[in-house]
Symmetry: C2
Subunit: 430 residues, 2 copies
């Protein structure tokens, strides 16, 4: 049974993702109608530059007045792909006030103030879906919110930023330094002119906040996520990683504490063993491991960005939200019932790989080892190499709270026999 | 807002999966209630052997009369984990008639007669969910039915049977023959006493039918799936595969034809390149590639069987179905609007790796090559080795319709210079 009155969709933003959403809505109109049970119609497209020619989109649908579009009152679903905090937040809440459900790809806004969006959706009995906000086309939000709704997720570990994975992959395979690899990523269109959001891991941190909140049924905001970018990763770090049988990835890690009373969320470069499935995630691909009590270890892999993959995720949500609308129902809303607090980075249990430049004389290792012991950090392996009065000491620790590990490093810096801390990197995935 | 009247769940079957479902419903009752919005209560458990002690399940819940249990009229959700065609089918349709929704893990029934189940669910306005029927805990049905609902899936390629993957992995890594590897799988509990359903690929074929139907929005039954077991794979095949930089996996492959007018579904052993992500799926793990027009290539990986993983999938569905019940809505039903026919195996385009025992004399290759040419099959590579008047010829073809390839093999068998066809295996994943 097909309803003949179409559902009306307003599109906010018509860039790489938005134009692809509009294109597929037109070219696959029949399939979408059959899957929804009613046709969907593009009722308006809000853009900043109305004069730009947009193939396949009727000029009369174009408007610069996004506020008026979402306030029309006859819009069933608003698709928000403009990004950023404002005006996106106001437009989304206005859309809910006027009876629309919302499909968004806006990770920054969801991580910054998801609670406001969820509250507006619930108040007006509408849906807020955002599969496209994390890891592009890879189904991740829906599996976490729905498929694993009967399970207990303990850990989410993943590569959620394609730009930085491309850069790290280039550094790994070609021996290039960071700048050189970034240049290549920029030339190929994988990195933006201003790569800050990617390379300083703001993008990955926003995704970690969203994933942690959903996985642990608690509220996690961007500010709760410990964040370290990957601009200081060097070719020497990759060489060290190789000696350990590892590579380096920028990882988003969300964990439930061992006692179950808190959670942590963090994004930083880390060494992972080459045998770990995440180690072989190449180029701009994304992959996320989910460890759940009953399900065990699951992995989701695919293209994490790009117009078409992101549009696929948006359209999957659009179909779901339209179905809900026809059924006069809503999908899952915010689930924060556990109210688990987010612990600071100092409480995260991890391992450090530390490279020290030290004086090449007897007793240095004893000094260094004493500092570790004083901080309650147990050493796994030490490798010492030296020449011409200078030596380097590579220490890999056992697992310890990050505060103890960083305290150890601070104390090492003060040792007379330690000339400098060449690099510190966490070791994960073992 | 929490509803206080519990939703009532009837469990059909209390074996490895059922007992785990019951256990988690008890131990995680609070989480489930919070996620559903109402408590869930185990209202009855139908078993064959009522005398067996079942820890954590009150004796008064146990019944041998499954029919009476699903007909009670106060059951909200029936969880069917008994498997097989009957009595499962009658119990499920009876459950729908009495107002229950159904969560099933029954791949055989869904592949044999899913249409009857869907029709009963739709008639009574209830849900039929079955994430656990394919690939255990790996979210696959929901991503295909919902996440990719706005996309066009062109191919599903995966390892969907853990038992056979375990056996093939052992053969690959240890050089063991099939019988030896099967014995090990049996000893470790990965293979059943009668391994027929697994090793003859009935299990994988049922899953392929389910996946193809959902992926292509058409009806695909078990009989539509071309099926070859893996009992004839030999250590020599693995040696041949290695020479090609490949390994051997039992693959389920569902494809949309190039012209888009039909689909195919098949399960058979195949060589795949070691560089393909499926090549590194070890032991009893499952992994499925999905290729969609906009999303690109996605991979889903995890434990494909076992009590806990399967229970995780069942409980995820239970939460979804209970939420729908509270919202007086239903999730997606059968989607077969494309009505694409399933083409026979002969029309599948694939590649063959053929090992021939031939007479070691001049002109043999010319004879053989002529047969390929006569069938319109183009040769990619030929490798000839010979000693003592006997020779072996390994031919790898380019892509051609399976009918042309199998016709070629039949004609080769009739050549005087061909002593025998030592093995034939398809090559996939390139």
């Amino acid at each position: 049974m097909m309803r003949t009155r179409p559902l009306k969709v307003a599109l906010l933003g018509c860039g790489v993702v938005g134009s692809e959403v509009a294109r597929i809505m037109t070219t696959h109109a029949g399939d979408l109608a059959a899957r929804i049970g009613a046709p969907v119609e593009l009722a308006g497209v809000a853009v900043r530059r109305p004069a730009k020619v947009r193939e396949g989109i009727a000029q009369e649908l174009i408007t610069t007045d996004a506020k008026a579009l979402v306030s029309r009152g006859d819009i069933d679903v608003v698709v928000e792909v403009i990004g950023g905090i404002e005006p996106a937040r106001t437009l989304i809440t206005t859309a809910f006030e006027h009876g629309a459900s919302v499909v968004s790809a806006n990770k920054a806004l969801l991580a910054e103030d998801g609670a406001t969006l969820y509250a507006a959706a619930e108040k007006h009995g509408r849906d807020l879906y955002f599969e496209a906000a994390v890891a592009g086309a890879i189904p991740l939000i829906r599996p976490l919110r729905e498929s694993l709704a009967g399970d207990k997720v303990n850990r989410v570990l993943g590569i959620v930023n394609g730009t930085t994975n491309f850069i790290l992959d280039k550094m790994d395979t070609s021996g290039a330094g960071y700048s050189e690899a970034l240049d290549e990523a920029t030339a190929l269109g994988y990195a933006e002119a201003d790569p800050t959001a990617d390379v300083e891991a703001f993008d990955a941190a926003a995704k970690a906040a969203i994933l942690a909140g959903i996985a642990f049924h608690t509220r996690v905001r961007l500010d709760d996520v410990y964040r370290e970018g990957m601009t200081e990763v060097t070719a020497a770090d990759f060489a060290s990683a190789k000696q350990m049988g590892c590579t380096i990835k920028l990882l988003a890690i969300c964990e439930r504490a061992a006692d179950g009373r808190s959670v942590t969320a963090r994004v930083h470069p880390a060494m992972i063993p080459l045998s770990h499935p995440l180690a072989s995630v190449r180029e701009a691909y994304n992959a996320v491991f989910v460890e759940a009590e009953a399900a065990g270890r699951l992995m989701f892999y695919g293209p994490g960005a790009g117009g078409s993959p992101t549009a696929s995720a948006v359209l999957g949500d659009l179909v779901a939200v339209c179905r809900n609308k026809l059924a006069e129902a809503t999908g899952p809303g915010e689930s924060v019932y556990t109210q688990l607090p987010v612990s600071p980075m100092g409480e995260v249990v991890t391992r450090y790989h530390i490279s020290l430049d030290v004086a090449d004389k007897p007793g240095v290792l004893a000094h260094v080892a004493t500092v570790f012991a004083e901080h309650g950090v147990s050493i796994d392996t030490v490798r010492q190499t030296g020449k011409d009065g200078e030596a380097s000491l590579v220490v890999v620790t056992h697992r310890a709270p990050d505060a103890a590990l960083s305290g150890t490093v601070e104390a090492l810096r003060k040792l007379d026999t330690v000339r400098g801390v060449a690099s510190i990197m966490r070791v994960e995935g073992e």
